[in-house]
């Protein structure tokens, strides 16, 4: 075999191995759309929604304060009222530090959760909670930004919603800081938030 040819072959082989390695690396590190529980830097982003007073608000309105964001729906018997009770308890637990925190509840069921429905519902929790609804497109956009999954599921002659039950903590610049699972106690949540608020 002539030497230059052997060299080309060797170089090709090395390049092929590198390419295969890179392909594998990309494959295993590609963000999976199913992963909703792990916090990544890309959680969060712009949204335009309507609050419980019927005013249009964007994410920009909350700059300068920390946001505690939860997606749910009012026809939810268990997970959502529990999360909203927990949010209320976190605010109480934080005391004066709670001024730096804006709790936000965003519906994943815009069909039933009108401004009126949201306003009536959140009146049962801490009045500092902002409740946001919108058009199905606006909700889809907000959920996409937060990597929140939601899906209508038939239940008898009605329906319920499967949805991500995570609470997201965003910093005053709107960047993702951490998340809490639904079984985090309000005391734990408050302690972790207090540390981050500084």
């Amino acid at each position: 075999m002539p030497r230059p040819f052997a060299r080309v072959l060797a170089v090709t082989a090395v390049l092929a191995i590198i390419a295969a390695g890179a392909a594998l690396w990309t494959f295993f590190n590609a963000p999976s759309p199913q992963v909703t529980s792990s916090g990544t830097a890309s959680v969060g982003g712009p949204f335009t929604l309507v609050d419980q007073q019927g005013r249009t608000v964007t994410d920009e309105a909350f700059r300068g304060r920390w946001m505690l964001v939860f997606f749910g729906f009012t026809h939810c018997p268990d997970v959502c009222p529990t999360a909203l009770n927990d949010m209320s308890a976190v605010l109480t637990e934080l005391g004066t530090a709670s001024d730096k925190l804006q709790p936000i509840f965003i519906t994943v069921d815009p069909e039933r959760d009108t401004v009126d429905a949201m306003s009536q519902y959140v009146a049962n929790f801490d009045p500092r909670i902002v409740a946001l609804t919108g058009t199905p497109e606006q909700i889809a956009q907000a959920a996409k930004a937060y990597r929140v999954y939601y899906k209508k599921v038939p239940q008898g002659d009605d329906y319920t919603m499967d949805h991500t039950g995570i609470l997201y903590l965003m910093d005053p610049q709107g960047r993702f800081m951490t998340h809490f699972t639904p079984n985090t106690t309000p005391a734990d949540m408050a302690a972790r938030i207090r540390k981050l608020l500084g």
Binding site: Q34, V35, T36, S37, T74, H75, C76, P77, D78, V79, P81, T82, N85, D86, S88, A89, L91, T92, Q120, Y121, A123, N124, F125, D126, P127, Y149, V153, Q155, G156, D158, T160, D162, H163, T164, G165, I166, T181, P182, N183, P186
Partner: protein, 149 residues
């Protein structure tokens, strides 16, 4: 004692034992800490409680009803990698001596079309049907929200 009366005596003893067994199973179901999470004005809510099977036989909670809601069903919440999914369950098995807790984020009695106007502190009667122990009743108090106002 002739054969007939012998048979009658056996039957009587057998019946007595059978009755005792049924009564024991019945007496051994304990229902504790029944409460309900009903957001004022909401059509759906959930009731929770602890159910203990104190008997030596397995049992099964098969149905729940209340006059305060048009429908009550046994549900569980499944945490599927952060996605919360609520699904109907076909009864809850209770091993001898076992306590099963229905609690927020897990098993619950889903209440649908709740009678409007229920406030924190109100009580709602629940009727639970067990495969062996039969029908048991308990009253659940409506929880106060974390931030009462």
């Amino acid at each position: 004692m002739n054969t007939l009366s012998m048979r009658a005596a056996f039957a009587a003893v057998f019946l007595a034992l059978a009755c005792t067994a049924t009564q024991a199973a019945d007496a051994n179901i304990t229902l504790q800490d029944a409460h309900a999470q009903i957001v004022f004005g909401a059509k759906v809510g959930a009731a929770y409680l602890r159910v203990t099977n104190g008997s030596t036989e397995p049992d099964r909670l098969v149905a729940v009803s209340t006059p305060m809601a048009s429908k009550a069903e046994l549900h569980s919440v499944i945490d599927d990698n952060g996605v919360m999914k609520m699904r109907l369950v076909e009864g809850i098995a209770l091993k001898p001596g076992e306590t099963v807790e229905l609690k927020p984020g897990g098993l619950h009695v889903m209440l649908m079309d709740i009678q409007p106007g229920l406030k924190p502190g109100d009580t709602i009667p629940l009727t639970l049907t067990f495969e062996k122990a039969g029908v048991k009743s308990v009253s659940a108090s409506v929880d106060k929200p974390a931030h009462g106002h």
